[in-house]
């Protein structure tokens, strides 16, 4: 894909993000941070690609560490959000 197409995607996603996020109440801002944080772990795809391509040893080593870091981010982020959100859905006395 060309640079301009990527840029288009970026700009549209920014507007969409603005619309989505401004509707989220302050009560949920902490789960929002940890949830979006997990989404930023999407860089795991890139990590998997470079670690798995095996073109050069250095790239593989760097990719390996990137996979570890990104996976911690993804797994930990979603789990922690789920933990918080479950307590929000809960009723007193449950």
């Amino acid at each position: 894909m060309a640079f301009v197409e990527h840029l288009t995607l970026f700009v549209l996603a920014a507007f969409l993000g603005y619309e989505l996020i401004t509707k989220i109440p302050a009560t949920l801002h902490t789960p929002l941070i940890s949830g979006t944080n997990a989404i930023s772990g999407i860089t795991l795809i890139g990590s998997v690609l470079v670690a798995g391509s095996g073109n050069t040893t250095l790239a593989t080593v760097l990719g390996f560490f990137a996979v570890v870091l990104a996976t911690i981010n993804v797994v930990g982020g979603y789990l922690i959000s789920q933990k918080m959100l479950k307590s929000f859905g809960r009723r007193r006395g449950d």
């Binding site: 995607l9 996603a13 993000g17 109440p25 902490t30 073109n55 933990k83 307590s87």
Partner: protein
């Protein structure tokens, strides 16, 4: 090259990425209400599983055992950290995860550069887009990584005090400038880059990474704990933007969509946090907030002397028994004392006796955006009972008793009066309009802003000195006794 994906058109992977992007968007949409939020998180997580799974299957790259090992190790560490964490330690853990995302992005961009240099062989394969995007990724990613480590350390109490030195802004500016110069060198050599210079090519990237790491540390080290909500939100934005620019490096659309959504989220939260303190982002990041006025020796004797009335749990319980409406204002002190369960127990007792109980939550109370809401939710306080500043402020005049526990600057009336005050213009909770205010605090020591709080000397204010949990527990015990 694809085995499992044999026979599928090449667009399949792109469609999978598009679906993943849609799932992220749907997941965020569900976060607009507490009842649907947990489902939204699962939808978002399934998008991640789809995107990663599709990548692995399509390129059949799980075959190197190292990769599978890396995924397992990461997943194990992530699970362990997330399941063992206490609610009170969540801000630092979230901060740490943020850093990992940024760090991973920076490593990916570097690895991709190394890869392209090692295999491409000719200059034409390295476009300016790739090198420029790699430069941005490295800069943002490394700042996020190191900044987050420092932020997490501060939140964990390892590096509690802000470290300040003269000329710190000059040092930061010089470091940033140096990083930008190296970044420009990285980009400008790419178009006329010949095969002979291959080895030299990636060097600027690693120099850039080193400078950005130093910058990340320099940026967060001088910032105090009470400004951490802003810092955490900003680092959140950075980790997303790093992922998005990695998408430019790798020519990958889902990275751009997902990363940008995160970037937008972090920036919006940063703006909200800054507005809640009536300060600019520049002021939060680069100014000496609080330090100056505290050093000036304003210990508050002129404000407090002879006017502060301290109270006891017994007396507070007498007030509670006659109240019809009680507003509880939690602050960082409640989090530190882990008092949320005792507070919830007290609220339950009061409600069982027909007293209306509301929690008033200031946006920047605590150490990350929405920190108090999470603590109270953990203690089973229903979210309908947590009210934001704009909703609760008009109701204080019809409130019999306000119980402030562990909050200080967010209930300081000088925000409205003193123009020289560091918190001038900051929206605060107008608790003094209530019939009686009980402030639970360990001492009269100033809060983060370093200024005395005239509320403590107010005619209708009683001070309940002591640790938040001990005091709340004492109130619970006393209330139970008088009731039975």
């Amino acid at each position: 090259m694809a085995g499992l994906a044999d026979g599928l058109p090449p667009e399949t992977l792109q469609i999978a990425y598009l679906l993943a992007g849609v799932l992220f968007i749907l997941g965020l949409q569900r976060l607009t209400h507490p009842r649907t939020a947990a489902r939204g998180n699962l939808i978002s997580a399934s998008g991640m599983v789809l995107a990663v799974g599709a990548t692995v299957l399509w390129f059949e790259i799980l075959s190197p055992l190292v990769l599978a090992a890396a995924l397992l190790v990461g997943a194990a560490i992530g699970t362990w950290l997330a399941t063992t964490v206490e609610t009170t330690d969540m801000p630092q853990l979230v901060g740490l995860f943020n850093g990992f995302g940024g760090g991973a992005s920076a490593l990916v961009a570097g690895a991709e550069l190394v890869d392209q240099v090692g295999t491409a062989g000719t200059a034409s394969d390295l476009s300016v887009t790739v090198t420029a995007a790699a430069g941005v990724t490295g800069l943002v990613g490394a700042v996020t990584f190191c900044g987050s480590l420092v932020a997490a350390g501060k939140l964990h109490g390892v590096l509690e005090d802000p470290i300040r030195y003269s000329g710190e802004n000059v040092v930061k500016a010089v470091t940033l400038l140096a990083a930008v110069v190296v970044g420009v060198a990285l980009v400008t050599q790419s178009p006329r880059f010949g095969p002979l210079q291959l080895g030299a090519f990636a060097t600027p990237y690693w120099v850039l990474l080193a400078l950005a790491s130093i910058l990340g540390v320099l940026l967060v080290v001088p910032i105090g704990g009470a400004d951490m909500p802003v810092v955490i939100a900003l680092l959140n934005a950075c980790s997303g933007l790093a992922a998005a620019s990695t998408g430019f490096v790798l020519d990958n659309s889902v990275l751009i969509i997902a990363g940008t959504l995160v970037g937008a989220s972090g920036i919006i939260l940063t703006v909200i946090m800054c507005r809640s303190m009536n300060r600019s982002l520049r002021n939060v990041l680069f100014s000496e907030y609080g330090g100056a006025s505290a050093a000036a020796g304003r210990d508050g004797t002129d404000v407090y002397e002879g006017r502060v009335k301290s109270t006891s749990p017994e007396e507070v319980v007498l007030l509670l028994e006659t109240a019809r409406r009680v507003v509880i204002v939690p602050g960082y002190g409640m989090a530190v004392g882990q008092a949320q369960h005792a507070v919830a127990e007290l609220a339950n007792l009061l409600e069982a006796d027909g007293i209306e109980v509301v929690f008033a939550i200031h946006p920047v109370a605590g150490r990350m955006p929405g920190h108090m809401n999470v603590l109270l939710a953990e203690a089973n306080i229903p979210y309908e009972q947590m009210q934001e500043l704009s909703a609760v402020n008009p109701t204080f005049s019809q409130t019999d008793l306000v119980l402030v526990t562990g909050a200080n600057d967010v209930v300081n009336p000088t925000a409205y009066s003193g123009e020289e005050s560091p918190i001038a213009g900051m929206p605060v909770l107008n608790v003094w309009e209530a019939e009686t205010v009980v402030v639970n605090k360990r001492s009269l020591s100033p809060g983060y802003a370093g200024i005395p709080n005239p509320l403590f000397a107010g005619d209708n204010t009683l001070m309940l000195f002591g640790d938040a949990r001990e005091c709340m527990q004492a109130l619970v015990n006393e209330y139970k006794q008088t009731r039975s």
